[in-house]
Symmetry: C2
């Protein structure tokens, strides 16, 4: 039996859940530094890379489940909505169905993907990548944080190295609601954004190798300062971003670490992380190739050698047309102001789209500010999307 | 009674002292990461910034002492000679005088200056700067390391926050032997270098303030990435170094830190440390002013603001002509191959020269490599200078 369109989620209950969630791991005023695999609790089933699944039984539990969710981890200066809206929104859907005593035909599962942000362990979307078979689980377990912590050991320490196998099971579909992390919906007062595709994105982790020496007597021409090579790469990356800015492209100098990184001594080791994105795949490819060549050039100019340790890429036309139509249809039926959008950031949905039909929708986020403690979304920003989520999940889960 | 020139130090004993010293805080093969105020012991008198003084009584202890020494701390990838040769060399002088049962007219004091390298706490030469009245002791106590440790508390923890007042007492003179940290003596097979003056040096610690934001949707023109500003400053500094390289000038991109410094987010805070040196004071001043202007320019270009938190400067014609002659004279009398040199690095002697007649001499160091675990000096490299130190210290301490 379908649920009437007049029935909606309990937005106030959802809001207090978000507020309660934001009490776990407070940071700067209003913000969250809740890095992956630190202490934050949910339960039910946990797989070997810490993905948490909360399953709600269907009428026929032999059918593949409809998956809803996102991630609970945040950036180091994260806000209280990015990711969390998707997980808590999925819970709100489940609670609403409980209120309605509605059991869907297929089971529903809520997912929290581990280390989506990549703020503590690189790369981002680590556990959803494992779930989709893109990353090897044993490899993932060895990823190391700046403080030397290893994610496999950290998951064990906080009791989230679960017994469940990673992926390898059939899913009916995946729906991920997320704040926009951009200002289009907020500026246009649109309530629901349907994602058509993702910006083509590339990321690089480059390592530079030089030689320590005393800064004072060591002449310019003898120097092999790895810190300088890494700094120069970040500057080059920024220049490439500006070259593509008119078309909406961006390139980011994201992260630099060096050793010994001290006054008085040249560094013999440095790493730089950067990313580049463009709506046009070909443009993103050109940006990436320019950065790849810059890695060698900056190393050479600093008398160093370089390796690209990691290169990740995602985006493109990954979402499922039928599910996109379903989202649009429900948004229209519910009288929401809605529009199509493109995602510029990476999301767990990018990996899940490889193994099941997937759709994402965006909720407005105040001034487009995300990854910042002032990140904000009002109840009125979130409620329309949650009701679309409710109805599209139910219609998908109940279909014959 | 003077000691005959035929009498020398016990070089073998000195060498085993250096080797014994190198057992405290081993690092990479052959190297030392013995950062200031970690565990390394000497005794006798300790002042309120951890400077250690070992005093050998004279015939007339009311006379100001002749000070000998250097520092025992190392860089993070330091070697076993930089600084250590000066302190252990001074001990070898004292032991030789014990062997000879020679009591000098004035007392001798051996100094170990705390945090000379600045590898753990900034600025370098921190405690000798306090001793000379250049830095305030209470200010110095609050200097903080990357791990949040505060030097005043660390000195207390390792029991080297001494009771003695810092400076404020008369010294007859100061002699500091040190490895060259350059390759001139080694290349020319010269045994003793007499320091004429120090390169004019400037150092800056610049802070940049931006705004965190999600790297994906945030357009290039909205970005205020502090990490990028700091990286760009280091690149600019390097360019200035190359502009002055023909005249022997150098500028160093030494250190960069940022927060959050993570993939996926722009950094709202960054600091960069850089230094610039030139034999010609005017040229060093021009380099420094170019860097000062670059701080504002790179901040502006990255949409950030900047502050110069620290600016240090030293060098010039700081050494005492009479003591320089004394060193030269003893080197000649002992038949050492010697030459005049310029110091390019900072040394505790730079600060002590402000309060008493000071001289430095350099010993050869293999291939000029310093601040590196392969730093090396043979017994034959060190013995001539130690004998010059012995004789010049005695003649200075015994003079009427």
């Amino acid at each position: 039996m379908p649920i009437p369109l007049t029935v909606g989620v309990n937005a106030q209950r959802f809001r207090s859940t978000i507020e309660r969630s934001a009490e776990v791991g407070r940071g700067r005023e209003g913000g969250l530094p809740r890095l992956a695999s630190s202490d934050a609790g949910l339960e039910v089933k946990v797989d070997r890379v810490g993905n948490i699944f909360a399953r709600r039984s269907g009428q026929d539990d032999s059918l593949p489940p409809v998956l809803l969710g996102s991630h609970l981890d945040t950036q180091a200066n994260g806000g209280r909505f990015d990711g969390i809206v998707g997980v808590m929104g999925a819970f709100e859907v489940a609670r609403t169905l409980d209120d309605l005593q509605h059991v869907t035909r297929r089971p529903l599962e809520i997912i929290n993907g581990t280390n989506e942000e990549g703020a503590r362990f690189s790369p981002p979307m680590l556990a959803s990548g494992c779930f989709a078979g893109v990353y090897d689980t044993d490899w993932a377990h060895k990823r190391q944080a700046d403080d030397g912590a290893v994610i496999g050991e950290e998951l064990r320490r906080i009791s989230y190295l679960g017994p469940e196998p990673v992926g390898g099971r059939e899913l009916d579909s995946y729906f991920e609601p997320h704040i926009e992390q951009g200002s289009i919906l907020d500026a246009e007062r649109v309530q629901v954004g349907t994602l058509m595709h993702g910006y083509s994105s590339h990321g690089f982790l480059a390592k530079f190798h030089g030689e320590t020496a005393h800064t004072s007597p060591w002449s310019m021409e003898k120097r092999r300062n790895a810190l300088l090579a890494a700094a120069r790469l970040l500057v080059e990356v920024d220049g490439i971003g500006w070259d593509f800015a008119v078309g909406g492209g961006k390139a980011t100098a994201a992260r630099l670490s060096a050793w010994p990184n001290k006054a008085g001594i040249l560094s013999d080791w440095a790493q730089a992380t950067c990313d580049m994105r463009h709506d046009i795949p070909k443009a993103a490819d050109v940006m990436a190739e320019r950065v790849r060549r810059a890695v060698g050039a900056v190393a050479s100019r600093a008398g160093c050698t370089a390796d690209i340790l990691d290169h990740w890429a995602w985006g493109g036309r990954i979402f499922n047309d039928e599910l996109i139509s379903l989202v649009r249809g429900h948004a229209a039926a519910l009288g929401c102001r809605h529009r199509d959008l493109t995602s510029q950031a990476g999301h767990d949905a990018y990996f899940l789209a490889r193994i099941c039909p997937t759709a994402m929708m965006f909720t407005p986020c105040r001034d487009g500010i995300a990854h910042h403690n002032v990140e904000s979304a009002g109840l009125e920003d979130l409620e329309p999307s949650l009701n679309v989520l409710l109805h599209r999940a139910v219609s998908r889960a109940d279909r014959r």
